[in-house]
């Protein structure tokens, strides 16, 4: 199996070096970038499999990078990596196309695991992100809805989100709900899709209260 081609985008050189050292054994780091413009160039020229994207950086932040390249490069997956933890920016980057969010104090093996997951098309939800998501879709506890309905989470998706927020790994979620890991991944991806596409009044309201749109 060929190793994944990864680009690291962050404005702190020290941090880039640290991440590179931590993941270099497991994946191939093809490029580093330090601001929006260089990140866009890297994605367009090298088409890496996964981009580790800082949320805050010169030129408009991760959101701006996604706005400029995501629609034209659907094969490149983005994983947000941040120290800020500000709900508005994290959800903003997810809504713009990132497939997951991890904090910068994540350990090396965990980061490699997250990169692999994102590259495979899955979503990476930390407990904190799951909490944000539940907050955003609040008040939608009702019985299971039609799957096409983007505006609310199904009961099952909510259950999965709550378990992730409670600190369960995907494997543990699967065991707890008597479903396969694949099914857990499907639910998480579906939540991600809803988060990105939903124009639900509450969600847009929640977002605009925090100025995400």
């Amino acid at each position: 199996m060929t190793s994944l081609r990864v680009a690291i985008v962050d404005d702190h050189a020290m941090f880039r070096t640290g991440v590179r050292a931590e993941i270099a054994d497991a994946v191939e780091v093809v490029a580093e970038a330090e601001d929006v413009d260089s990140a866009v160039t890297v994605v367009e020229d090298l088409a890496p499999d996964v981009v580790l994207l800082d949320v805050h950086m010169p030129g408009g932040g991760g959101l701006e990078v996604l706005r400029r390249v995501y629609p034209r490069h659907p094969d490149t997956k983005f994983l947000a990596l941040s120290v800020s933890d500000a709900a508005e920016d994290v959800i903003g980057v997810i809504r713009a196309g990132a497939r997951g969010y991890v904090t910068k104090n994540i350990s090396g093996p965990e980061l490699v695991d997250a990169i692999t997951r994102v590259a495979a098309g899955d979503a990476v939800f930390s407990p904190r992100l799951a909490g944000f998501v539940l907050d955003a879709f609040a008040g939608t506890i009702e019985v299971a809805q039609v799957d096409e309905d983007l505006d609310r989470l199904t009961e099952r998706e909510r259950e999965v989100m709550r378990l992730i927020a409670r600190g369960y790994a995907y494997k543990e979620v699967a065991k707890e709900l008597f479903i396969s890991i694949k099914t857990v991944e499907t639910h998480v991806s579906s939540v991600l899709r809803k988060l990105q596409l939903s124009s639900r009044h509450e969600l847009t309201r929640w977002a605009s209260d925090r100025r995400l749109i």
Binding site: D11, V55, H56, M57, P58, G59, G60, G61, L63, E64, R67, V83, S84, D85, A86, A87, E88, D89, G92, N105, P127, R128, A130, G131, L134, D135, A138, G139, I141, R162, A165, R166, G167, Y168, S199, H201, E202, R205, W206, S208, R211, L212, I213
Partner: protein, 413 residues
């Protein structure tokens, strides 16, 4: 004292002047409905446009208030600022186009405004909108206050032209029946002209007071920042240098400092306030600090504190202490959720675990402080654990009826 809720125009969500966005927020109505209302009102003698312009002048513009970290990141261009979505632009244009269509129809059928007035009126409106959009509040103030440069010359020029027009108007008019109206018009034009010329000095007088107050606030804020850095960061660095050998202590200090700094910079995870979420976070911080185990707390929703909720928080604290002390796990996950009717707290570790059936009756920790405490207040406690599989304590507490529904849930759907 209740403060009146004022409608404001959000600076980052303006299509034209931000009036409809501001009104929609204020009234809790969908922005689309507000836009349609303005367009429909315009069909009656342009009432919608007049209302829009008046509101534009009188609703203050508000820049988003952000935490210090986000504000600084925004200023340095590290994040993208909010902007109007393309969908909204298209929607707005469509509504506008329909409105114009109907207006044209009214004109053709002869129910509209007289043709001679309409053209200059439209021109004037577009002109006003363009200029106001360019010079919205702050920069208009700056333009008026400037006493040097091109803007200054332009303003003086405009003022002089207006005064001259008034003068010429009066001189060239014969003393007909409209003499009084003419005189008033001329006076009005002259006053506007004088206002443009003298305005800066008048505005400066008012503005100086404002500036002074703002400057005072700013220097106080700078002092606060310095004090904050001194109290927290410097102290922590000093402590770290004293205990370089104690890994657990160093990690705890670094983590604690990181959390404090982050919460101060980004305003997340507030640990102040008389509400459940703040109380639970405070407890998590306390336990983490005294037991040197990272505790990750995620809270969704919030309710006010009451004796029942307080008991729940104390029981959750006990569960965190148990997990930190006895499980041997390297981190504890805390998740709390409330829908306004009940509060649930989950405390989970991946540590040693134990056999719940085997707890001795005299183990006060679990029986009394957790289960008993919650049950006395009408809640339930469930402990799931098995040797080698970690432990999860699930606590549920109904919220007393009559409590106001938390803000986040007061939605209409």
């Amino acid at each position: 004292m209740t403060e009146y809720r004022r409608a404001v125009r959000p600076a980052d969500r303006r299509l034209v002047g931000g009036v409809t966005a501001g009104l929609a927020d204020h009234l809790g109505a969908p922005i689309f409905a507000v836009r349609v209302a303005f367009v429909v009102a315009t069909w009656w003698n342009g009432a919608g446009v007049i209302a829009y312009l008046l509101l534009w002048r009188f609703m203050p513009l508000r820049q988003a208030e952000l935490s210090p970290g986000l504000e600084s990141a925004t200023r340095r261009g590290l994040r993208t600022r909010g902007r109007v979505s393309p969908r909204e632009v298209v929607q707005g244009l469509a509504v506008g186009a329909i409105g114009v269509g109907v207006l044209v129809f009214l004109q053709i059928t002869g129910h509209g405004i007289g043709g001679a007035v309409l053209a200059p009126l439209l021109l004037a409106l577009v002109g006003v909108a363009v200029i106001w959009r360019q010079l919205d509040d702050a920069s208009l103030g700056r333009w008026m206050r400037q006493t040097t440069g091109l803007a200054f010359a332009a303003r003086i020029g405009a003022g002089l032209v207006l005064v001259a027009v008034a003068f010429v108007y009066v001189v060239t008019q014969d003393r007909g029946w409209g003499a009084i109206v003419d005189l008033l018009t001329a006076l009005g034009a002259a006053l506007v002209g004088l206002g443009l010329i003298l305005g800066p000095w008048l505005l400066k007088l008012v503005g100086d007071l404002d500036d002074e107050r703002r400057e005072r606030v700013r220097s106080q804020e700078r002092a606060d920042v310095a004090a904050h850095l001194h109290d927290s960061v410097l102290q922590t660095l000093a402590l770290l240098q004293k205990n370089p050998g104690d890994a657990a202590q160093v990690a705890t200090l670094a983590r604690q400092q990181e959390r404090e700094l982050r919460s101060w910079l980004y305003g997340t995870d507030s640990t102040v306030g008389d509400r459940f979420a703040a109380a639970l976070r405070t407890v998590a911080v306390e336990v983490e600090t005294s037991h040197h185990v990272p505790i990750e707390a995620v809270v969704v929703g919030d309710v006010p504190m009451d004796p029942d909720v307080a008991a729940l928080v104390r029981a959750a604290r006990e569960a965190m202490v148990n997990a930190a002390k006895h499980s041997g796990a390297d981190r504890v996950d805390v998740y709390a959720e409330t829908d306004g009717r009940s509060v649930e707290v989950f405390v989970r570790d991946r540590g040693a675990g134990f056999d719940p059936a085997g707890i001795a009756e005299d183990r006060v920790g679990v029986k009394g402080s957790i289960v008993g405490r919650v049950e006395r207040h009408g809640g339930t406690a469930r402990i799931r654990s098995a040797p080698g599989e970690g432990t999860e304590v699930a606590l549920t507490m109904p919220v007393r009826q009559g409590e106001p529904v938390p803000e986040e849930r007061r939605t209409t759907s």
